[in-house]
Symmetry: C2
Subunit: 332 residues, 2 copies
Amino acid sequence: MRPTIDDVAKTANVSKATVSRYLNGHFERMSAATRDRIAAVVAQLGFVPNRQASALKSRRTHLIGVVVADLANIYSTLLITGINDVTKEAGDQILVAGAGNDLAEEKRVLHLLIGQGVDGIILQPMSQDSHQYDFVRLAGIPMVIVDRDSLPRRHVTVASSDYSASRTLAETVIRAGYKDIIVFANPVQLVSSRMLRYRGFADVGQDHHIPVTLLETHGDSAAEADVSMIGAWLTAHPGHRPAVFTTNGRLLMAALFWMQDQGLQTPRDLGICGYDDWDWARLAGPGITSVNQHPQQIGQKAAEFLYQAVNGTPAPATRIEIPATLDLRHSL
Amino acid sequence: MRPTIDDVAKTANVSKATVSRYLNGHFERMSAATRDRIAAVVAQLGFVPNRQASALKSRRTHLIGVVVADLANIYSTLLITGINDVTKEAGDQILVAGAGNDLAEEKRVLHLLIGQGVDGIILQPMSQDSHQYDFVRLAGIPMVIVDRDSLPRRHVTVASSDYSASRTLAETVIRAGYKDIIVFANPVQLVSSRMLRYRGFADVGQDHHIPVTLLETHGDSAAEADVSMIGAWLTAHPGHRPAVFTTNGRLLMAALFWMQDQGLQTPRDLGICGYDDWDWARLAGPGITSVNQHPQQIGQKAAEFLYQAVNGTPAPATRIEIPATLDLRHSL
DNA sequence: CTGAAAGCGCTAACAC
DNA sequence: GTGTTAGCGCTTTCAG
């Protein structure tokens, strides 16, 4: 079985304390001889210190918890990759969990993370009410929020510039001559970023006296999303050629699948644009005009802020925006 | 700060042992009164047991380590999602790490996982030589391998039916009338699954006397992959219209980006097909014929086998294949 | 420069 | 039914 610090100490003829100093790099006042002897024994035994034990005393598990709304999402992957970029430098590991788009499940996994004694948490929150997360502050665990707001703001929040990116895209749509706009989204009341994306369109539409219709669906996979709502709208408005804006990549994909099935083409039959963090939209049809929010960068920034807090110098609880970028293509 | 089992014990006027029994569900011989009292105190204090401490004695951290070759990959996301489906049921958590396609880095993170005392590991291995992983068996940690072989086979290995799927696809290509086949891949010697995918084509090509050219590139992102090799081939073979097969989704995307930039169309100028685990290929061009290896299922199966081992009844070290499926579309 | 000893929060015999 | 006690493997004063 795994050797312990005691095994190392005995084989090297020193005390556990000395080995511990060695492991933690406190060679300042240690004879080179002892150091080398310990090094040899560690290598020979293949000793790997047990972090569970060390955490008990040192109060540092070197674990960072990450909770995303839905694991099977490109956004999540890229976010996690960004976080990993910085935890790696710190020699830490990430504990990932998916909330399955469910508040109760999110709460459950947060408790698991607390139980594991994570040094900090990065959360894409299900709830807009930050009081829901009081228990993690009570546990004394630093947390930073990503992608969505949770208010009153108690944590640094890193998100993309949803509202302004959305406005810019809406202006583009209108400039392209569309007289009808459809926003295809998951329920916007529930999540601040969705709401901001919708509001960007709604506000610009109002400025230009262009009607903006909100079509809400539950489920965001191609299979679950109820894309036929768009078909219903089309039937109800014969002769109209609207621009459809989808608030996330899965919905964009769902909409495009549906169009393909219906034999609808863009921009001939309708315009389409939406969020896409993975650039595949460039390849669909004539190329879909889309917004990229750079989740990897969001992950990096979030992790950097988290470490500030973990190291005792938390930044003020403000919203940090990573600019989303617009890729103009030929679907409008 | 976080309350401990001692705090709970004192407030509830019982011993730590009783609280511990409560926490672990040993109510068999416990008065309902004490049980309820403890429950109340636990809720009131917001007590969450410290798993680090419990692990020290119980030898179970409830942590499953997952090491993938590259975190920023759809395959990884879906694999992790599948693993999470089953660890969640067990009340466990997953510790994910990316090896950055580098053997040394993989070794480093494996050591970190061992240090964290994970109950088991799921690995998409960088090395085909299983001796590289002797140190994990020495540490007594159960492991299952996914996606690629590492031999001599010491661990259950869950992968997709690479060779047969690849043969089927090759037959399809040839039946479509192509007289030249190009396999665009990352170095095939290094990874068994790539090799199997290549061999499937090579063998079928030989059977039909159709030349199969292997074009190898390093880096698999659209930016890094050297797609111009295909262009060079085209230049060297004027008048030919080959079918290109890419051995993973990133390379498929890279090839399609390049074709788009070159103004090349499929199937007009060349045929194209490849691996795609996320169905976006359905939307590209006329729809790209592709192979889906169902990574989520692979993850689930792998986790199930891992738990068998963790629970003391390891399955024999065989290769388990999850059938890959072929989506015929219009790119050939 | 190194060692002894106490203890982190929890579990698991073994008592009673 | 419940309490006592002895650690799990490590870190960290405090001595020397």
